[in-house]
Amino acid sequence: MNAHSDPGVSGTPVPPAGYKDAPYDVELVAVSKSYAGTIAVDTISLRIPKASYCCLLGPSGCGKSTTLRMIAGHEPVSAGDILIGDRNVTDNPPIARGTSMMFQNYALFPHMSALDNVAYSLKVRGVPKDERRARAREFLDLVQMGQYAERPPALLSGGQQQRVALARALITRPRVLLLDEPLSALDPFLRERMRGELKRLQRELQISFVHVTHSQDEAMALADLVVVMEAGHIRQAAPARDIFEKPNTAFVARFIGGHNVVPGGNGSIAVRADRCRIGSSADQARLTGHVSSVEYLGALVRVGLIGDNGLEAAALISDRTFFAAPVEPGQAAALTWSDEDAHALAD
């Protein structure tokens, strides 16, 4: 488990030489991708600081996977430059970029054992069999898969396959690990556990992870840098807390969830649902209407509200507050919040 901590041993998962030089692990400079007339990614620029966990977040078709594949070198860019560390790798093949990719559904070679899967990158480089198998074992141990080394992928569970795929990607000693929807094939329980492990690995290895997901929860839980994408554009790139507290557009506020987007003085404002209260129209009502739904979530209760103007909104209130003065669907109600909780949106 400490294989990574000794930089002197060759083949252990330490960052490659020259790692400390550049302040950014990944830099996208006005990168575009178009396919026969349709633009998938439109002139995006992004800097991912070294050793950070970055999530590309957005609805399907927003260009996040294409962006990841362009960083990996599996998709040529139509315009722009990609830098890994301080090297421009725009025209480099995948292996010469310092990146490594973990594919959606893992793409483990079905005819090879877990060990041979992990050792494959060493095999193509001509590392002798005993040496590459020994090193592959180290990496299988790193992801706690040492005991399954001889099994073919078909005999591994989804979570185990993912660990093998991780080991296979990490053995190339990438500076940046690219993960394409790595958790979407797992059941919810396993998903949360693997989420924790990904974060732990990233922290231990001190390399950057770029993780594509459509799940806000995943991005919030993992990322140092959340990049919200829509229609081929980056709408906001900021730490998770900044995104949640200061979403810059109505799209980001809605997509990240937990916000009400309502008309304000100049343009829209976002206000977090957990900062809203349900009250009668007497006290400082901001939005009057009637209760449309009540969802009991355990610690919290989500009260949906349809305003008289047709606007949908919600309040997340603690179970204690809710049950002190419960409301029912159909009942007239009003949403209130404090001025300091309203956050103006750009558009």
């Binding site: 990996a72 599996h74 093949p93 995948p94 292996i95 490594s100 990719m101 594919f103 959606q104 559904n105 793409a107 483990l108 070679f109 079905p110 005819h111 494959y120 990158s121 095999k123 193509v124 480089r125 001889e150 099994r151 073919p152 078909a154 005999l155 296979r168 990607a169 190339t172």
Partner: protein, 286 residues
């Protein structure tokens, strides 16, 4: 009366069932008859009743007498030709299949040009090749014009199976290999080839059986030495003994043996991939 879930069978079941039985009778009936008659007693004739049983006629196969023709040599020729045709079919079809993965202008036209051979009348293909060789002043021969004629038959089938096999190949495996630094040859050797191997064995098997019992396209192109089907054809018109049946039994056994071997190999590969040999270990681990 057969029923399923208490419901009586519909009339279409019996109509279709009868049709299927008819099909089975046409397919296996003659084979069974030939198989039984090949064990005809030494004094028996070419039809029932059986006059005792013996293996006399199988021994007759091995003797290259004038009356029977040279069966062992014809068999060897056919086997050699079929193995070569199978190998060439596999190699050419996989190469073409890999090439066709990249879309290029005229790909569809090229494909249809190649598989159009399936609808060409075999006898005329054979005749045309023989004529062409004659015009050019070349002599037709087993491994020249004969092999070529057979490939016009095995390649189109092989191409279609190969395209289906390669079409099913998940390109993400290849991308993963690229990501890990494999060059195009390593990708093919280590990833694509092993994964599509069961399909390739199927292609080779098809090439073998199509070549092994091909008659029409061989008839005018193999030169002065007969392949087994041509020898058999000569026998059916000339022979008057159950040697013919013994021959039928042996060739059928050869075909089934090849088929079984190929299927076993494919099954072994698939099972190894599914981890069959490790399932005991897995249940031990829980």
């Amino acid at each position: 009366m057969m029923t399923e879930g208490g419901q009586p069978r519909s009339r279409s079941f019996y109509v279709l069932g009868f049709f299927f039985l008819l099909f089975l009778a046409f397919l296996y009936g003659p084979m069974i008859v030939i198989f039984v008659l090949s064990f005809q007693g030494p004094n028996g004739g070419m039809s029932f009743p059986m006059v005792g049983t013996s293996t006399t006629w199988f021994q007759g196969l091995l003797q290259a007498t004038g009356r029977v023709g040279d069966i062992p040599s014809a068999f060897q020729r056919s086997l050699g030709l079929a193995l070569l045709a199978a190998a060439l079919t596999a190699v050419i079809c996989v190469s073409a299949g890999m090439g066709f993965r990249r879309r290029f202008p005229g790909a569809a036209l090229l494909f249809y040009t190649a598989v159009a051979s399936l609808v060409m009348p075999s006898l005329f293909v054979s005749f045309g090749i023989a004529l062409g060789f004659k015009e050019l002043g070349w002599r037709t021969g087993l491994f020249t014009s004969g092999l070529g004629a057979q490939l016009t038959w095995t390649l189109p089938f092989g191409l279609m199976i190969t395209f289906a096999t390669i079409g099913r190949f998940d390109r993400r495996y290849e991308e993963a290999a690229t990501d890990l630094g494999a060059n195009s040859w390593q990708r093919f050797r280590d990833i694509i080839f092993p994964i599509i191997l069961p399909g390739i064995i199927g292609v080779a098997l098809f090439g073998f059986t199509l070549s092994y019992d091909e008659f029409a396209r061989s008839s005018l192109t193999v030169g002065n030495q007969n392949t087994l089907p041509l020898e058999i054809w000569a026998l059916t018109t000339a022979a008057t003994s159950p040697v013919l049946f013994a021959l039928g039994t042996v060739t059928t056994v050869v075909s089934f043996t090849v088929l079984t071997l190929a299927m076993l190999t494919i099954g072994l590969i698939v099972r190894r991939r599914a981890g069959g040999r490790l399932s005991a270990e897995r249940s031990a681990h829980g």
